[in-house]
Amino acid sequence: MTIEEVIFYVLATGAGLGGVGVVLSRNVVYSALALILSLMSVAGIFILLSAEFLALVQILVYGGAVTIIILFAMMLTRVRDMPRAMNGPQWPLAAAVASVFMAVSTIAAVSSQWPGDTENPTVIPLRTLGDSLFRQWSVPFEVASLVLVVALIGAIVLAGREEGE
């Protein structure tokens, strides 16, 4: 077992446990913290995939911003006062569907004949990535930024207090 594999298993365990925590925890805030664990582990996985830039983006966006907003929303929606039943009545069905999907995807991943080298990833230099992002993908990039602006304005309008509230 190489050192990379050890790190992978550690991170994968972190991500998996975090995921389990998100969906099974009976405490909402624990769920959120488990989500952070999972997200940070996934950032580590990105580093293993030699996508350092994405890992840092992941940490910056999710660690610094998204999870905080989620925690905020929990506090503002008085999550603590909500009834104890965290799961809806259809959770057994959900479990069945999720297990079926997990089985299918695992079998598919393991048994597929992949059309290339599945052992050695190629390191993509950051400069190449940036070049590609700002030349070849510049229009989608701008569109994405526009989407972001529109979404945030929409969020402000939606969440902002109306007159008389």
Partner: protein
């Protein structure tokens, strides 16, 4: 390479970083008390050791030996994990922080980005501390801290981005080498100003100490902590102060270079970096001793309505200069002009604060309604 074995090498570097962290925090605490004392016409700590130099050590011993209290309604896991979540990111940022051209734990191609990204995670710890304490003041402080940190992280990163654009690199050593004779503060005074303001907010220092204000939320998220856990928050805060000061001196003040030659030896490099970092630290202390506290709405609107547009302006100008190869003087003029503008904004808003309440508040208060 300090040692031949890479693992041993890494371990030594990490240990050096930890040692530096601890030592610098203790020093900084002492220095701050002295400095502020002087500004306030006091002596500061004088009793422990000559001129009170051992005061921090005494405090540390006291903190470690104190009982580690936890409210029984507090959420145990969240409460106990919070200090680590605040402390570990601060520590991790040390990993990629170069102090001289050779002294660093690991240098990354994305070093600056790494520092900014990782240091952002500590917000989670603050929120955890606020929520886990099961205390209204703590929760309020946590929410305030989260809002403030998220808001000021954006201008902080954008201000850094201006320098990155000029250096065309995120590698901190490259950035320092890029300012051989002229530090970036000359080209980016606006960036430096924004960075300084945002850093004040990141550190909860005056005038942005709203989340931890004693008179409002009684210490904020850290209210229920004591002993070593409280010490960890304290350590993390001063570590962050050190990191931001080093970062500022690296990115804006030319790092270990000085204007008369950038081939300095290790000794001179250390002197320069220590001098510049100390200058930055002194600025932060000075701000704390000088400014009054802002209101939360002023804080938010200042970030989103003043700092953010200004930093975007900076980036747009930098982009134009870079793309069209305009002379560097354009940077200086535009950035300087914008700095003047920003300073005027601040001055004007301070002036406005001294005016009596605006009409809309007074009318609400004095509205006469027929009774019965």
């Amino acid at each position: 390479m300090i040692a031949d074995n890479p693992w041993l090498d890494a371990l030594i570097r990490l240990l050096a970083a930890v040692a530096l962290m601890t030592f610098s925090s203790l020093t900084l605490i002492y220095l701050e008390r002295k400095f502020i004392g002087r500004i306030q016409m006091r002596l500061g700590p004088m009793r422990v050791g000559p001129y009170g130099t051992l005061q921090s050590i005494a405090d540390a011993i006291k903190l470690v030996s104190k009982e580690d209290l936890r409210p029984h309604t507090a959420d145990r896991w969240v409460f106990e994990l919070a200090p680590y979540v605040v402390f570990i990111p601060s520590f991790l940022t040390f990993v990629s922080l170069p102090f001289t051209a050779d002294w660093f734990v690991r240098n990354f191609e994305l070093g600056l980005f790494y520092i900014l990204a990782v240091s952002g995670v500590s917000v989670v710890g603050v929120v955890m501390a606020g929520w886990g304490s099961d205390n209204r003041y703590a929760l309020l402080g946590g929410v305030r801290a989260a809002a403030q940190l998220i808001s000021y992280e954006v201008p902080l990163i954008l201000a850094m981005l201006g320098a990155v654009m000029i250096a065309e690199s995120m590698d901190l050593i490259d950035i320092v080498n890029g300012q051989g004779r002229v530090p970036y503060i000359v080209w980016q005074p606006l960036g430096f100003l924004i960075f300084f303001i945002a850093a004040l907010a990141e550190l909860y220092r005056n005038p942005f100490d709203i989340p931890v204000a004693e008179t409002e939320v009684v210490g904020g998220p850290f209210i229920e902590y004591s002993g070593i856990r409280w010490g960890m928050f304290f350590l993390a805060e001063y570590t962050t102060l050190l990191i931001l000061s080093v970062l500022a001196s690296l990115v804006f003040l030319g790092g270990w270079n000085w204007p008369l030659g950038n081939e300095a030896g290790i000794g001179l490099q250390l002197v320069w970096i220590v001098l510049k970092t100390s200058f930055m630290i002194m600025l932060f202390f000075w701000a704390r001793a000088t400014f009054p506290r802002l209101r939360i709405d002023q804080l938010m609107s200042f970030s989103w309505q003043v700092l953010l547009p200004l930093s975007f302006l900076q980036i747009v100008i930098n982009g134009l200069v870079k793309v069209y190869n305009w002379p560097d003087i354009v940077l200086l003029l535009s950035s300087g002009g914008a700095t003047a503008l920003a300073l005027y904004f601040i001055y004007a808003s301070v002036q406005r604060m001294q005016e009596p309440y605006p009409q809309r508040f007074t009318t609400v208060m004095t509205r006469k309604e027929p009774v019965g």
